[in-house]
């Protein structure tokens, strides 16, 4: 984007320079003291007979032929040398050009405040659960298919050094949804750069929620994150800041608690969610918490039933002294609609040079810790080939299994991503 703006600026400046050249040398009959802008325009038209007469037609092979024969009705070029523009004329033209350049520069500066980035993920999925069944209007039991998993464009407008506007829609085969839409206000008085977000944004909880899908090394987030934080986003306000030589990060948000799948918040109470993170060089550690309520419909109670919605989590990211080797992990526990739940995930990532990545992930989710044999553990692996700075290919295989058996539900994903 910036390069494009630079090119546009360059072209505009080049055009203005060409105009300047044309206006300063082409019209010797400009009246001294006349409107320099108007005289400049006249000399650009190319329709004035005196201009045509000045062209050295006889020297150009293109002038040969009947069409270019001298017309006795047209004025003949004078042998007298052309008068140079006066200093006043040149000053006037320069002033005009300066004004035009200033206007253009102002426009370019406004354009330069806009940034857009995005990515498209096109994929093929082969899922062992797939069956050939005639579809309903909204669902299908066949999961083996090509699809556009994500197609996102992120617009950022830097209103001022302390205010930013961010909008990120997601356009997929199933429709258009708003992912991010918020205003960001940053205080300029301290080195913490405390920032207030208002709108729709990621829940500030753990690591995987906020880690972009364009960067993630597996096709989807771990099962516990997908289950407890569906859509990864909510609407509300968030305060965030970084201090102590940027080694400490805090994020705290007040949100509806309904996520983004619902258009409304069903209860009056708002949920509180936050994370603090500390950096110890190669190791980052975060602690997160969530407190809220969930209003759930119930046939016995028309006003619904309210459950406590609680989550606590701890996460870490470690880069090791072994070149290209890193580990990540997160443990989350809490209450979901009356049940005690917990789960975790762990990543091992090995970079091989700048283009190849091997990834292993294990994740587990127990939807009720008081009930035996209901946890789901998924072992997954991926190979990622970074074709260039913009595109990569991911080949992933995941094998979920229950504590008591291993149903046929393995998933293979081949994904191509282009980001800009």
């Amino acid at each position: 984007m910036k390069r494009t703006v630079t090119h546009i600026t360059f072209l505009i400046v080049l055009s203005l320079s060409l105009i300047a050249c044309a206006t300063s040398g082409a019209d010797p009959n400009t009246t001294p003291g006349g409107d320099p802008a108007m005289s400049g325009e006249g000399s650009m038209s190319g329709e004035q007979p005196d201009q045509q007469g000045e062209q050295p037609q006889s020297d150009s092979p293109q002038t040969e032929g009947a069409d270019m024969a001298p017309n006795p009705d047209e004025p003949v070029a004078s042998d007298e040398p052309a008068e140079s523009p006066t200093a006043e004329e040149l000053a006037g033209r320069l002033e005009t050009l300066t004004e035009a350049f200033t206007e253009t520069r102002n426009t370019v500066e406004v354009l330069n405040r806009m940034r857009f980035s995005g990515y498209i993920q096109a994929q093929y999925v082969n899922d062992e659960r797939s069956v050939d069944v005639l579809p309903t209007p909204t669902t299908t039991s066949n999961r083996d298919q090509f699809s556009v998993r994500r197609a996102r464009v992120k617009f950022t407008y830097q209103v001022s050094p302390t205010a930013r506007f961010i909008l990120q829609p997601d356009v997929t085969s199933s429709g258009v949804t708003l992912k991010d839409g918020y205003v960001e206000l940053t205080e300029p008085w301290t080195t913490w750069r405390n920032t207030l977000l208002a709108g729709q944004f990621n829940w500030p909880f753990g690591f995987e929620i906020g880690y972009s899908s364009s960067s993630r090394e597996m096709p989807e987030r771990s099962l516990i994150v997908r289950t407890l934080f569906p859509g990864e986003r909510d609407r509300g306000v968030q305060l965030t800041g970084r201090g102590f030589a940027e080694r400490f990060l805090y994020q705290i948000a007040l949100v509806n608690g309904t996520g983004t799948s619902q258009s409304f918040d069903f209860n009056k109470r708002k949920d509180l969610v936050g994370r603090v993170g500390v950096n110890f060089g190669p190791l980052d550690i975060g602690v997160s918490g969530y407190r809220g309520e969930d209003l759930v419909s119930n046939t016995a109670n028309p006003r619904g039933v309210t459950f406590d919605k609680e989550r606590e989590g701890v996460d870490f990211q470690l880069v090791t002294p072994i070149p290209g080797l890193g580990f990540r992990g997160e443990y989350i526990t809490g209450k979901e609609r009356g049940a005690d739940v917990d789960g975790w995930y762990g990543y091992l990532i090995q970079n091989l040079g700048t283009r190849h990545q091997l990834v292993v992930r294990v994740d587990e989710y127990d939807s009720n810790t008081d009930v035996n044999n209901n946890a789901i553990r998924t072992l997954g692996g991926a190979y990622i080939f970074h074709w260039d700075a913009n595109s990569k290919v991911m080949i992933a295989y995941e094998e979920p299994e229950l504590e008591i058996n291993d149903p046929d539900d393995n998933v293979f994903t081949l994904r191509y991503q282009y980001a800009f």
Partner: protein, 273 residues
Amino acid sequence: MKRILSTLLLAALAVPAFAQKAVTVKGSDTMVIMNARIAEAFMKKNPGTTIQVTGGGSGVGLAGLINGVTDIAASSRPIKTSEVDKLKQRFQTRGHTVPIARDGLAVYLNTSNPVRELSMPQLKEIYTGKVTNWKQVGGKDAPIVLYSRENSSGTYQYFKDTVLLQKDYSPRAQTLQGTAAVVNAVSKDPNGIGYGGAAYAKGIKFAKVRKGATGPAFEPNLTTVRSGQYPITRFLYFYLRSAPKGTAKQFIDYALSPEGQRLVSAVGYFPVK
């Protein structure tokens, strides 16, 4: 299913990793002349090696390091926490830092400007837009025309952090691409002021700079930069994803050798060794 998987995995692993033909150095426009000189001398001394040097700004170089499109990012500012985070996420590394030179960040004035000295507080007031006339800092009665760099520039960021104390630039500051463009603009504008590396001092003069409101003012030179008397100094860095090896290591070793550091001095910067 397993057959499909095995075939695709084999196909993927068979994709050839393109052999790296050259070591690429990308980033700071401030450093581009210095880097090119060192690279030329290095390649002359080591036939068969290729060092490609390009500019674009420190931010661009560091983004290239994060994206894997450059081997060495040249930066005139320290790497940011957010950039280290991205390196960690993409390459599982915190990066490797090599200070390659020191720079006295010069304040450029037109040669016809009678002002000779400026204090750091005055520079801050000038560039944040509180002082708008040369008369207010001992010069003639004329508006101050501010020339600055694009915000991807490490020089822009360093000047903002060190001189403006993280305050924002005046909206009147004109953004130019590259230190050479700033020098050129100031050399043609009697009321202009700019900033940038001391290596680009053609057709302009340096303002002497004093740290506080009172006290002696200094021009950037080897003595004043090394002694710390000149108040706006910084390191110029090479950043890599990991400790250098192969040709990249040879190149960096050469840049830090007495011969390489002489080239650093020859283009107007100051040696680190």
